[in-house]
C-alpha cells in the first residue's frame, strides 16, 4: 500500500482537482481492492490493477459532477485531423531557477495541468509524472498504446503552450523578446 498510495492519490488529485475528493478516491480504491483481492487474477500487475480501480472511481465521481464529456479539441487539431502548429515560440528554458522553482510558478504548473481535458490529463499524470510505461498507462486507462502515445503528445503540446503563455512576460522582463513567427512551413 505504501508503495502505490502515492500514485493513486496523485492520479485522483489531478483528475478531481480537489484534495478532499482525492482522499475519498484513495480510500475507495484501497477498500475496493481489499474486498476484491481474492478475485485479482494476476493477468496484470497489482499496481496497474490498483490504478485502474482508482481511475474508474475518479471517473465515476466526475460523471456524478456532470462534467461535460470533453472532446480532444484542446489538442488543437486542424479540420483534417493534423496537429495545429504551436503558437507560442518564445524560448523560456533559460529563465532563472528562482522563477521556475517559485511557489507561484508551481501553482501555474498545477493550474495548467488542471485545465487540460481529463482524457489528456490522466495520460500525462500516469506517463510523465508517475513514470508508468506506455503499455501500463494503456492498461490502466483502457486505451490502445497508440492512442496513449497520441494523447500524451497532445497533452505535452498543450501544457507547453500554457507554460509559454505564462512565462513569456517574465522573459520579456529579463531581456527583450525577439519577434517570433508561427511554425507553419
Amino acid at each position: 500500500m505504501e508503495r502505490h498510495s502515492g500514485t493513486v492519490y496523485n492520479l485522483a488529485l489531478r483528475m478531481m482537482n480537489d484534495p478532499q475528493e482525492a482522499e475519498d478516491v484513495l480510500q475507495e480504491t484501497f477498500i475496493s481492492a481489499f474486498r476484491a483481492l481474492d478475485r485479482f487474477q494476476g493477468r496484470s500487475q497489482l499496481s496497474t490493477w490498483l490504478y485502474r480501480i482508482a481511475y474508474n472511481a475518479a471517473l465515476m465521481r466526475l460523471r456524478k459532477r456532470r462534467v461535460p464529456v470533453e472532446s480532444l479539441d484542446e489538442a488543437r487539431e486542424t479540420e483534417d485531423g493534423e496537429l495545429m502548429p504551436p503558437r507560442q515560440l518564445v524560448d523560456w528554458t533559460a529563465l532563472p531557477d528562482e522563477l521556475l522553482l517559485s511557489k507561484e510558478f508551481r501553482g501555474k504548473l498545477d493550474a495548467a495541468l488542471g485545465s487540460l481535458p481529463e482524457s489528456l490529463r490522466s495520460v500525462f499524470v500516469l506517463r510523465d509524472i508517475e513514470g508508468l510505461s506506455t503499455a501500463e498507462t494503456a492498461v490502466v486507462l483502457g486505451l490502445t498504446e497508440t492512442n496513449t502515445k497520441v494523447r500524451l503528445h497532445r497533452a505535452r503540446l498543450a501544457l507547453r503552450e500554457r507554460l509559454t503563455t505564462y512565462l513569456s512576460p517574465s522573459l520579456a522582463a529579463v531581456r527583450p523578446v525577439v519577434a517570433c513567427t508561427e511554425v507553419g512551413s
Binding site: M1, S5, G6, Y9, N10, L13, R14, P19, E23, L26, Q27, F30, I31, F34, R35, E82, L83, P85, P86, Q88, L89, V90, D91, W92, T93, L100, R106, L109, L113, F124, V125, D128, I129, E130, G131, K149, L152, H153, R156, L157, L159, R160, L163, T164, C180, T181, E182, V183, G184, S185
Partner: protein, 76 residues
C-alpha cells in the same frame, strides 16, 4: 523535412523512441529552424518540470485516515 511533419514525432524524439534515421532528419531540420528548436527545447523542459514537481504526495493525515479505514475494514 518540414516543421509540420516533425511536430507529430516530437514526443518520440524527446523520449528517445525514434529510429536513428528520423532522429537525424529532425536534428538536421532543427539546425536550420530556430522555431522548431524552441518548440523542442520548451517541450522537453515542460516535461522535465512536471516530472520534477508534478507529484503531490499523500498528506500524512490522509495516510493515517486511510490506515484507520482499512483496519476497520479488515476487522469487519
Amino acid at each position: 523535412m518540414y516543421c509540420k511533419e516533425m511536430l507529430g514525432s516530437l514526443s518520440d524524439y524527446i523520449d528517445g523512441d525514434l529510429e536513428a534515421q528520423l532522429c537525424a532528419e529532425i536534428e538536421q531540420h532543427m539546425a536550420g529552424c530556430g522555431n522548431c528548436r524552441v518548440v523542442v527545447d520548451t517541450l522537453s523542459k515542460t516535461v522535465s518540470l512536471y516530472r520534477e514537481y508534478g507529484h503531490e504526495p499523500v498528506p500524512p493525515d490522509a495516510k493515517d485516515r486511510l490506515y484507520a479505514v482499512l483496519k476497520l475494514e479488515a476487522r469487519s
